[in-house]
């Protein structure tokens, strides 16, 4: 049964504030972070909750993001529930520890206000930071709204701490576009969140009664087995994700799926994008549909693990998939998202034309006209029967 309406509190919250409110309700033991735009508000708000006695969390304002993720691993090793937040260069500085967090199987929740990487310095949104940690072993969930950021942050702990998973989870929101944009957010009563999450039950924590050593040397003898197990764990995520979402849906009536499909059933051309671009894409699809064009949208929420089956099914027998992505993999065949899609479709019966449009780097606006431009190009490419591997849109050339 969903939680009664009068128990739900509704507030206008930015993406950052929505995450801070979610974290407040998740009964964190430790939060360690370093300030970086546009994530800062998450920790500032959380510190206010701590100051007001609303949470019992040890908040450590450490001296760098490298230290933040390290402190999280240390805390998580004792069985604590742990979170941190960062973006861009801060995330990049954590890189070494990201791999440790995942390989040591620490269920840390890492909220990220996705932002471009230096140089030159840029504080605005793209997905270079998230794509940079693509292979670290973190589960990656990208959100489209403040509500989704709130919901996903709560669910993230349950997924991360599941004994079949035990992996860290990144929850991404678009820097400024969502992190600083106020939207209506429905919040659960804290006791409902507490019941939903329960208390973390660590499998193998550091404990003086039963001393163990974590993370020592494993060379040619056992290193590979660690990775094998880690791989098996991340492949379990879709199953657990669905289970957790179903439970969450019972409370709230809301669920998002690993991908969101919009008018894809009879679509001939499908727009595929992540995060807030999903909203723009859906508006564009509506307008094009009015003109009789058969357009649909897939908004990818889960980038790691990559939901191959769901994507292939949603694409169905469409003629083309246009990918709009906000990151570059310099020198690669295509850019990160398109590479995944191309690989996923390789075994598919119907292999549509795949177009890769790189857009919005460093916060460059991605208005509906950019999608239409891509759409017009795609139609021409379909007619011609060939297309470039990738293109950049909305940039001076």
């Amino acid at each position: 049964m969903t939680v009664a309406k009068d128990k739900i509190s509704i507030e206008g919250l930015t993406g950052d504030a929505a995450i801070a409110h979610a974290l407040k309700q998740c009964d964190l033991d430790v939060l360690a972070a370093y300030p970086i735009t546009p994530q800062t508000i998450i920790v500032e708000d959380f510190q206010k909750f701590a100051a007001d006695g609303e949470v019992q969390t040890a908040v450590i304002p450490v001296e760098s993001e490298h230290s933040a993720m390290s402190a999280c691993v240390g805390a998580s090793a004792t069985g604590a529930r742990v979170a941190t937040a960062s973006a861009s260069a801060g995330l990049a500085l954590m890189w070494e520890i990201l791999y440790c967090a995942a390989s040591m199987r620490m269920p840390i929740v890492f909220t990220v206000a996705n932002r471009a990487l230096s140089a030159p310095i840029n504080i605005h949104n793209d997905h270079s930071d998230g794509m940079g940690m693509r292979d670290s072993g973190f589960v990656q969930l990208y959100c489209q709204s403040s509500q989704e950021a709130y919901d996903t942050t709560i669910m993230a702990f349950k997924i991360a701490e599941d004994h079949d998973i035990l992996l860290p989870v990144m929850v991404g929101i678009d820097g400024f576009i969502l992190s600083h944009n106020v939207e209506r957010v429905e919040m659960l009563p804290t006791d409902v969140v507490t019941d939903f999450l329960g208390i973390r039950e660590p499998v193998q924590p550091l404990h003086p009664d039963k001393p163990i050593t974590m993370g020592p040397l494993a060379l040619t003898d056992y290193y590979f087995e660690f990775k094998e197990q880690q791989d098996r764990a991340i492949q379990e995520v879709p199953k657990i994700y669905k289970k957790v979402e179903k439970e969450f849906e019972k409370l709230t009536g809301r669920s998002y799926g690993m991908i969101e499909e919009y008018k894809t059933d009879d679509a001939e051309i499908i727009i595929l994008a992540m995060s807030t671009m999903g909203g723009t894409a859906k508006a564009v699809a509506d307008v094009l549909r009015e003109k009789g064009e058969k357009v649909g949208v897939i908004r990818l929420k889960m980038f790691r693990p990559f939901p191959v089956e769901e994507i292939c099914k949603a694409i169905g027998d469409a003629k083309a998939v246009m990918i709009f992505e906000k990151a570059m993999s310099f020198g690669a065949v295509t850019h990160p998202l398109a590479m995944e899609i191309r690989s996923a479709l390789y075994e598919a019966e119907n292999r549509p034309m795949v177009l890769d449009f790189v857009v919005g780097l460093g916060g460059r606006d991605v208005p509906p006209t950019t999608f239409v431009e891509g759409y017009e190009k795609t139609k021409k490419y379909l007619e011609k029967g060939e297309a470039p591997l990738y293109e950049t849109l909305g940039v001076r050339k």
Binding site: Y34, P35, I36, T37, T40, V43, E44, Q47, K48, A50, A51, V59, P61, E63, S64, E65, A89, G90, L93, S118, A119, P120, I121
Partner: protein, 274 residues
Amino acid sequence: MTESQIHFARQFLREEALPSPFCPGCGNGIVTNSFLKAVNDLGHSDLRKFAFVSGIGCGAWIPSPHFKADTLHTTHGRAVAFATGLKAANPELEVVVISGDGDLAAIGGNHLIHAARRNMDLTVICANNWIYGMTGGQVGPTTFTGDRTTTSPYGNPERPFDLARLVAASGANFVARWTTAHPIPAARAIRTALERRGFSFIEMLSQCPTAYGRRTKSGDAVDMIKWMKSLPVRKKDEPLGHRVPTKDLLDLGVFADRDEPSFLQSMEKMKEQI
């Protein structure tokens, strides 16, 4: 305008980059002025002999893009490491790092003490405003105990670094601490720092009315300058001792003044022996 009416600093500044992005009342303008006065006093008419490196934060915007000079604007915390490479590759250049306390002493603290230990031939100027200004006023490693900031709303439980003592103890050849209320002694110290071989460090206490002033209720720029003006000046040769900085116990003056072999000199000496 006659030439004498044009402020001496303008010859070193990129006019097109002005006005600076600093908030009204920010101390960074005075830090800029003191530095350029030292350069002017040394007889330079341009910055051709210099290269500047900065990291991330308000203080990092002092040289970049405002100085008409080669500037390397880098990542948060790493300015000293970038500068070390720059100096090693082109020892002819006077390599200067200008950045803030968050950049140099928090996330980049390790580089700072190691460059001092190495006695690397650099001049580092740290605009210390006791807070992360650019991100909106979070607690940092120079924030005074008890200060209320956005991430220490109940008061900072930690102790701040004494940067001048830290760098002096780490092995720098020249260390001084002045404030934006002491622009002339500061310029004099910067001049000595630029002339001295090895590692020199100038800590410039600098008011940040927007983040520090507002968050910690320390008043406006004028209030903070008045407070800094009242800080005690060390006597020459007074033992350094150990103390945790507080708002009244923050002594100014020179903390290290020696002429030990610099990194480049030690390298030369080693090469001769090979």
